[in-house]
Amino acid sequence: MVCKLCDLSPGLRLFGRRLKQTANLMVGMPDYDTYAAHRSATHPDLPVMTREEFFRERQARRYGAGGGGLRCC
């Protein structure tokens, strides 16, 4: 029983994380942790945007020229 809960809880945590990612991406905000992990893995020598900078950059991008702010009627 206890063991089952142990198995379940990472699953639940993953579900919660995915739900949050979905809600954020619905309004055009990608996952910051994914971004940070990607940067440190591929460009460890280059500066990484902070969470706040990332938020502002993505927000401006969504509604800027050639951004993804396009939605249907």
């Binding site: 995915r18 309004v27 591929t42 990332f54 401006a60 969504r62 800027g64 939605r71 249907c72 009627c73």
Partner: protein, 691 residues
């Protein structure tokens, strides 16, 4: 697994799919064949869901495997260009949510409500057939084509696969459809909020709430979108509740009661200001609010319909398939097929499918689920809108959706007129419905949103709250649609501005500088003037505006779908998959025929309610005779009506010319691909030939 087990599982699978198919066929049979007896909405929903399941399992799999030859081993743009920002390999469920939120809008909620005047059957059949064979096919194949081309945009792909000229034609078409779309959406808001202090107050309240959220999210708790959205929703519900007090306090109610014309001017000024403000202040926070409210409302409506299982009072097929209906004029063919655009097939989705989604897809084998299935979900939203409209008494439906010029402005006149059409209703019932939802009148509130709101209030009050909560549900539905549309107007004006700067940049290079204030303001003003002009003429239109603008919007949206499907067809020919090209050729031909026939009738039909030129002739003749026809009150207004007719006619002619030009270009490109023995697609990466 042993082979016996495997074959057992296989047999079970086939039995399951057989059961789903049979259930769907039975439900469709009930929906299609019951006459003179109201049916339960659950039949409609069951028929739709079974259709979607079978279509997804079989037709979309055929498209993926045989037509597109999906290759799960190919690297997608998300991996090739992974930057953690635009290009990010994303879990398919997360991406499904993103894609669905981007394609679902007010369109699928409005079209079916208007189409309900012909009964629930014609619209439902078109929504189902349209999505399976046209809408979802378009979304899915455009997504595929874009994924194989580094997630490039529709315009870009038309240029590279078909040539420069079709590229410019498509770009011009996209700009025009934006302008018409914004005008018609703004008109829906005007129709819903004119003379409604409760609705007006709550919509006004969304602005300070959004600004508060914007400041919170930028300075106080940067980036906490979800936290801020929860606060925003709570504040919105507070404003919604206080709206009732406003509507019941005469002094306050007078402050928030505006005529249609005033609302049009407010929206035009608002559209301009909102589009030049920094995005974080108003647009972004309101976008968050409206997106979450939209998803929440769709879920609530779905639960409501399943729990309440309402009965449809609208007949299966009404007498208005003959084209004399009060909501929109014109016969079932072609006008039903352009009235329901989103929900069956929407050209606009081709822009979304070639926008952000292809940059995030992990594997080609997810294209089917994201491109095809998300569109099936959108179609389900359209079915729910159809249900919401048809649960109303037909008399009430026609009272809400017929122009004042036809049914008069009092409940007594309206009830008498509508009863004489064969939809018996008493003046008391009309007054009582208005009272139930906390409004003074429900007459002539065309545009879909109020009808949907009454239907939703009807369904949701059956789940909780009963009649006492009906006014809240009604105004919640109005608020949700208005909020959503205002966001689209704001974001759409920006998109139109960038397009105008791009196009104008060809002649005046300095216009292209998006950081220059002068070029921004000029391009924004052009965009707002464009849709504002159509909006204003729609508001003062004697036939209610929706009557002339919605067909223009439908024609332009289907035109864009035909353009996107033409591109898909050309790509199939260039891939040497032409033996399967009927998958895209069939919907292209159908949409082209519908748009061209509808366009032709809008131009040349002798009935003034349908043909723009015939309408112009009636008013022109009256002008020559020195008469003033209602609702014009002066010679100046008479002249304006005539001018509007000619401009609408010119727009229609332009749309028709665009479709024909694109079809010709498509045929030429396909023939060229056919005569070339080798594969000529310009794909990026993968095993296929790149040119």
């Amino acid at each position: 697994m042993s082979s016996a087990q495997a074959s057992g599982k296989n047999a079970f699978n086939w039995l399951l799919w057989l059961a789903v198919s049979v259930l769907g066929a039975v439900a469709l049979g009930v929906v299609a064949l019951s006459r003179n007896e109201p049916i339960n909405a659950i039949w409609l929903v069951t028929a739709a869901v079974c259709t979607y399941l079978v279509a997804f399992r079989f037709y979309s799999m055929f498209i993926g495997r045989s037509v597109l030859r999906i290759d799960p081993t190919r690297v997608t743009p998300a991996y090739r260009h992974n930057d953690g920002l635009d290009y990010v390999p994303t879990n398919k469920w997360v991406l499904f949510g993103h894609h669905f939120a981007a394609i679902a809008g007010a369109g699928p909620l409005v079209g079916p409500v208007l189409a309900a005047q012909m009964g629930y059957l014609p619209g439902t059949l078109w929504i189902l057939a349209g999505v399976v064979f046209a809408g979802a096919v378009q979304d899915c194949i455009v997504l595929f084509v874009s994924v194989r081309r580094d997630a490039r945009s529709l315009g870009d792909m038309i240029r590279s696969e078909m040539g420069e000229v079709p590229g410019v034609i498509a770009m011009f078409g996209i700009l025009l459809i934006m302008i018409i779309l914004l005008a018609v959406l703004a008109l829906i808001v005007v129709k819903a909020l004119a003379g409604s202090p409760w609705g007006t107050f709550t919509v006004f309240a969304t602005m300070p709430i959004a600004i508060l959220m914007g400041v919170y999210c930028r300075f106080i708790r940067p980036g906490r979108i979800l936290e801020m959205s929860v606060i925003g929703v709570v504040l919105l519900l507070g404003a919604l509740t206080y709206g009732q007090t406003v509507s019941q306090t005469p002094a306050l109610a007078a402050m928030f009661t505006y005529s249609g014309e005033t609302w049009a001017l407010i929206l035009i000024v608002y559209g301009f200001i909102a589009a030049v403000l920094p995005v974080w202040l108003l647009l972004a926070p309101r976008d968050y609010l409206s997106t979450f409210l939209k998803i929440g409302t769709i879920v609530a409506l779905a639960i409501g319909i399943m729990v309440v299982a309402p009965v449809l009072h609208m007949p299966a097929v009404s007498r208005y398939i003959d084209g004399t209906g009060p909501v929109f004029s014109g016969q079932l063919f072609p006008f039903l097929f352009i009235t329901i655009a989103c929900g069956a097939v929407s050209g606009f989705h081709s822009l979304v499918s070639s926008g952000t989604t292809p940059k995030m897809i992990e594997n080609e084998n997810q294209i089917r689920m994201i491109g095809y299935a998300a569109m099936l979900m959108e179609s389900a939203v359209a079915i729910m809108a159809m249900v919401a409209a048809c649960v109303l008494e037909p008399g009430a439906y026609f009272a809400m959706n017929s122009p004042a010029g036809m049914i008069g402005t009092t409940a007594v006149q309206a009830a008498a007129t509508i009863s004489s059409w064969g939809f018996v209703i008493t003046p008391d019932t009309l007054t009582q419905i208005a009272k139930d939802i906390g409004e003074t009148t429900i007459l002539s509130r065309a545009g879909g949103a109020p009808t949907l709101a009454v239907g939703m209030a009807h369904i949701l009050s059956g789940v909780t709250g009963g009649r006492a909560l009906m006014p809240f549900w009604y105004h919640f539905a109005i608020l949700f649609e208005a909020l959503f549309i205002l966001t689209t107007i704001d974001a759409g004006t920006r998109v139109a501005r960038f397009m105008i700067q791009d196009l104008a940049g060809i002649f005046v290079p300095s216009m292209r500088r998006t950081e220059s204030w002068v070029s921004n303001v000029v391009a924004t003003a052009i965009a707002v003037a464009g849709w504002g002009w159509f909006l204003y003429q729609g508001v003062i239109d004697p036939l209610g505006g929706i009557n002339s603008l919605w067909p223009l919007f439908g024609i332009s949206n289907q035109m864009l779908a035909a353009i996107a499907l033409t591109l898909c067809t050309v790509v199939l020919f260039r891939m040497k998959q032409q033996r399967y090209a009927w998958v895209t050729i069939a919907p292209t031909v159908w949409l082209s025929v519908c748009t061209l026939v509808a366009g032709w009738e809008k131009l040349f039909d002798p009935t003034p309610a349908i043909g723009f030129l015939a309408h112009a002739r009636v008013f022109g003749a009256a002008l020559d005779a020195g008469k003033v026809l209602a609702p014009a009150r002066s010679v100046v207004e008479m002249n304006r009506v005539v001018t509007n007719d000619y401009i609408n006619a010119i727009m229609t002619a332009i749309f028709m010319a665009l479709v024909v030009a694109m079809l010709v270009c498509g045929v030429i490109s396909a023939m060229r691909a056919l005569s070339n023995p080798s594969v000529t697609t310009k794909e990026v990466g993968g095993g296929l030939q790149t040119v």
